[in-house]
Symmetry: C2
Subunit: 698 residues, 2 copies
């Protein structure tokens, strides 16, 4: 039982505005409920009819003989609120509103929708919709929908599917059916007046018969809610696969910092879900490939893929793609190679990818033995078998895979190009995932490996996460004034909170500058200091590589003059003097407040190049050091942190500590912090240090 | 008629080693030839039989009554050379060798193969194979194959397909058949003893019935040959779509320069084919999506996509993907929007993407009018219509698309998710491309738009290409000595050939250094000069931002000492003094010799970051300035060349001239030049200038 049980597994269903015309929106639910043998009570409500088919039809909601668990409302929009009020009086537990004409049509509809929501809420009714296709609980024959998907077979299965879009969701469900993927639930949340994507998915995953959650998302309202749900799902070992469209959701917002301006373009969503093990699918086919693999396979214990093909080219294509997705295609052990050489013809290839050649057609045992040998290799964690056509050998092949599934504990998938329908069906009925090509197979396997890794990481990092939360609760951060914070005040705040900055002196005269430079040691940098000049280079307000006292004097004078010329109105805070940073790797570390997910921490590479390559990774704040390490691993240009031609590797743990500290500071600042940019942070073998900073408070 | 006519369209076929068992490799060609009503003469050769079916069987090749245009040889490998010798005496024009046991099995097979090749060559016989499935010319019923693909229907069509892999090629051909894509030719080139991929594709494209070439490539031998073929295809208006596996073909070669080390990983192939308008497909489905679109659509005259959907989410998914592929999703004109508002329901969306909602089910005309209005918009060059399911409305929908195809000159494709089989078939029979999802549709349309653009560009750039070739022929480049060329000699050579370098003085004492610095003007850079130290920073051999005479002296001393310590054996050429370059955009421009394609020119972005992000683009040398411009456009970080916060846009035409000059210099150097790196090249609003260089000659 969960809070949406009455909605998802009602023992009785009223249909308000039911029609005897089973082709109509308000007629179809009854048709489907009868066809799929819904076992509960059905109460059609419509004053026009005495009966619909064999069922008694009630003139009003008040006339229904019991309080229904669920009511379907299929009335014109202006009549919906009244119907829900009536249902409330009848102590109805939940309602699905099919009707459109609400928020999706503009201001007037939005007002109607608010009314519906408030009526339902005050009556204690949980509301699905409005403007939705409704839902199917296939286990219990609950066909509370008018969607096209209900027209065909809807056998229950371990996959729970929740979709914000009716049309696209229906298409995905139909594709799943074609693959023989059983959807235990199909739920379209529509306008999400009450029950939103997260709530529906949580209820679905609470059902022990569901082992995989699949979702289609167009606009997410509750980012932290999704992440909380994902963590519950991780704990329960139920993978969650999501396709989300709308990659530019928050991209348009103006922002002062790099962190702010880079936070659009989907990357916040990407980073947030990655930390919680949500699997992101590019599109509908990719989603179903992953779902099919998850539903049919145990999780791999590592990233090693063993590839068995009958075509060298397919093997190369898969190995290339595996490399792109950071899967390993390990060299097989001598023992494995020996076993393979015994099994396959001399002109085959006994290395990974294994090429068994077309010879297995004459000698099926060969394929079986080759796959088995490959799967048993200690470096192989998951197998992929590539086939094409083979119309005449379906039974043999299905037999081979069936016995392999029984014999081997390791997961494998079949990639079968131009597969005969009979072969596809037979494998899928046996719970063996079969993908339609080489690339989809690798993509699906990569999703499995990533998820398994996320799960392991999440478990291993549990203690650190807990410790971080406890520390956070104890922190008392005295935040500085609002708006752009002055350089010295920001520096003090950072230093007070365990964030190291480069030695810096703020000075107000050329004389002071020369003294400070001598103290800091040459070479030094001079930077104009003003809260009104967040981007100093724009006013030619930076002088680098200054090597002597005379040059300090001259640089001071130039900066003061430039500020005067370019920003005569700016409040000047003098000039910042810094010891020049060494030649380390340059990063940007920042914080920003995302409208959907709240406070997020960003890591990017490359100083000025961060804007060009947008090589940035986000996470919800705070992150543990280990999570920070994973962020660094996700940077495309991460190689710059390793040993390079001109530099030894940077101190990764100092960098991870810095990222974690920044994220913890942000989280502890509550809603006060708007944006923080540490740009650049310079990291080398001795540590990681912020060289410039921009802090904006609310 | 072309040079492979006897192979591709033989008027008579001998089958050497023919079997009466039609299930065997040597029996199947006869079975297929008879089944597909091959109209020419067939001569089975086998001393075991008098007759096979209704055909006379000849005991020896000598007994065949005429010189056959084509002979199929299906004998054990050791017997093949003798059979070809016999066929040669019989004046046979061409031979296909099915037999395996040649180069693919190692050294012994390689020797056998060489023998076969030389026998064929001296007899003037064109050879396809060995180790191949043979070929099909579906127009003329030439079923010279034992491949599985021949088992089903093989209706001829406008697509010519050439594959280096038998197994993978068969799978692709079978998938094409399922889509109703007619393959006029299916050719498997196998070991390519004589007829290689390029020769086969050239012969196929010479057939006027073929309008699209499709190829599957595993290992390319003749890069320039492929490019020459692609240019012929461009001139003939026949698009060429290729899937190539093996992304790491030349990646392992050691190289001194960045250009050399970055040339692996498939990027040379990518760059080379892009300049010649070859369309690269990621995998088999992507290839067929593009082929289907090309075969069914005229080419779009621009990059504007008009999207019509029944689901907002599908529209967003397509718009996102379009943006990723640099397609435009233009704002529709007021007139178009007016027309749309008349056509679609109030709760639809009359902007691009257009959402017609599910209402068209009740009112099919609405869909027709909405698509038509969108296609007629002046900014729309190609349309995509997204549908799902609609099993009950197949006839209506097919009718709509059929009349749209008749009425509108602009191309459009249908993206139909979970489409009913009847709908797919009906559209495809009418030559209307239909893709299985939103993303594949956008991907196919992008390929069309790219190809059309390549074609227009290639035509527009024809004169410049011609001029470049003429200049090249006239150039006499006196190349410097071999090995790593000294800094001053390389600089002179570059300057003599229109490549600008930063003002540089080579000096041999601290005293000379101070004089040179004063002449150049501060700040200056000092760099150790030695042919034996190609990477100066590795020996701490560079000093930048030197601002006075004393520091010059000190830097000189340090560099001399560092060279002594790190490279005591190195031949020192003193120190190079340069005026410090301004703060422009940093690029790498280089040349290298690729084993498959010959001399290629590279452009990369980002100074040291070039290695991290591998943001580089290659082309065959030489390139025109306009081609150089396209290279810059293909850089992921190209935004760095535009106006940015701290800098005005760089002088693009100076940069393009520099790239073109470098490429022309390389091309004119013949085989002498091994590697050239200009790294960095600094570009700003005033020009583009090489700041450091590494030249290696053979």
């Amino acid at each position: 039982m969960n809070e949406l049980s009455f909605l998802l597994a009602p023992r009785s269903i009223a249909i308000v505005g039911a029609s005897e015309d089973f082709s109509k929106v308000n007629g179809r639910p009854l048709k489907y409920l009868l066809a799929k043998h819904y076992a509960g009570a059905i109460y059609p409500v419509n004053p026009k009819y005495q009966r619909i088919g064999a069922l008694h039809c009630y003139p009003t909601v008040a006339a229904i003989p019991e309080a229904p668990d669920l009511a379907i409302v299929a009335l014109p929009a202006p009549l919906v609120a009244q119907a829900i009020a009536d249902l409330g009086r009848r102590r109805t537990k939940s309602v699905i509103v099919f009707s459109s004409g609400f928020a999706e049509i503009g201001e007037q509809g939005r007002r109607l929708e608010q009314e519906v929501i408030s009526v339902a809420s005050s009556a204690g009714i949980r509301l699905c919709g409005p403007n939705c296709l409704g839902l199917i609980n296939a286990f219990d024959g609950v066909m509370a929908t008018f969607g096209q998907f209900a027209e065909g077979e809807t056998p229950p299965g371990p996959v729970g599917f929740v979709t914000q879009s009716g049309a696209f969701g229906t298409a995905i469900a139909a594709l799943a059916r074609r693959r023989g993927i059983g959807l235990g639930y199909f739920i379209n949340t529509g306008n999400e007046g009450d029950v939103d994507f997260v709530a529906a998915m949580r209820a679905v995953l609470a059902d022990p018969r569901i082992t995989v959650g699949a979702g289609y998302v167009e606009g997410l309202k509750d980012g932290p809610g999704l992440i909380a749900l994902a963590e519950e799902a991780l704990a329960a070992g139920k993978p969650l696969v999501i396709t989300k469209v709308g990659k530019t959701i928050s991209g348009a917002r103006a922002a002062l910092s790099h962190t702010g301006s880079l936070a659009g373009a989907d990357s916040v969503f990407e980073g947030a879900i990655r930390s919680a093990g949500i699997i992101r699918a590019r599109n509908e086919e990719h989603m179903l490939d992953i779902v099919e693999a998850l539903a049919g396979c145990p999780l791999p214990q590592g990233r090693g893929v063993g590839i068995v093909t009958q075509s060298g080219g397919a093997g190369v294509l898969m190995a290339d793609r595996a490399e792109e997705l950071a899967l390993a295609v390990p060299v097989l052990s001598d023992a494995t190679q020996r076993k393979l050489r015994e099994a396959i013809p001399a002109f085959g290839v006994a290395a990974n990818p294994v090429d068994v050649t077309g010879q297995f057609v004459a000698e099926p045992r060969l394929l079986h033995d080759a796959i088995k040998a490959t799967l048993y290799d200690p470096e192989v964690h998951v197998g992929i078998v590539w086939l094409q056509l083979m119309d005449a050998y379906v039974d043999t092949l299905v037999g081979i895979f069936e016995s392999l599934k029984a014999e081997c504990a390791k997961p494998f998938v079949v990639s079968w190009v131009a597969a005969p329908e009979a072969g596809l069906g037979a494998l899928r009925r046996r719970g063996i995932p079969v993908l339609r090509g080489a690339e989809p197979a690798i993509d699906a396997v990569a999703a499995l490996a990533n998820y398994a890794e996320d799960q392991r990481f999440w478990q291993a990092d549990g203690k650190a996460r807990k410790a971080l939360r406890e520390t956070e609760a104890k922190r008392h951060v005295a935040a500085p004034a609002s708006g752009v914070v002055s350089g010295p005040a920001a520096m003090k705040w950072l230093n007070d909170n365990d964030i190291v900055t480069i030695p810096t002196r703020y000075v107000r005269s050329a004389e002071e500058a020369t003294v400070a430079a001598a103290e800091l040691g040459f070479p030094v940098a001079l930077k104009i200091e003003s809260q009104d000049i967040p981007h100093k280079t724009e006013v030619d307000g930076v002088r680098l590589h200054i090597t002597d006292i005379a040059a300090v004097r001259q640089a001071y004078a130039e900066l003061a003059r430039n500020a005067q010329i370019h920003c005569p109105e700016a409040r000047l805070g003098g000039v910042a003097l810094q010891r020049m940073a060494g030649a380390g790797a340059e990063l940007v570390i920042g914080l920003k407040r995302d409208p959907v997910f709240g406070l997020v921490v960003m890591v990017g590479l490359g100083g000025i190049h961060v804007e060009v390559y947008k090589d940035v990774v986000f996470r919800l704040a705070p992150v543990t050091q280990a999570q920070a390490g994973r962020m660094l691993d996700e940077l495309r240009g991460r190689a710059v942190l390793n040993d390079t031609r001109n530099r030894t590797a940077v101190d990764r743990s100092a960098l991870e500590r810095l990222i974690s500290n920044v994220s913890a500071l942000g989280a502890a600042s509550g809603n006060r912090l708007r944006e923080l940019d540490l740009n650049p942070v310079v990291a080398d073998a001795t540590g990681a240090i912020a060289v410039d900073w921009l802090l904006v408070m609310d």
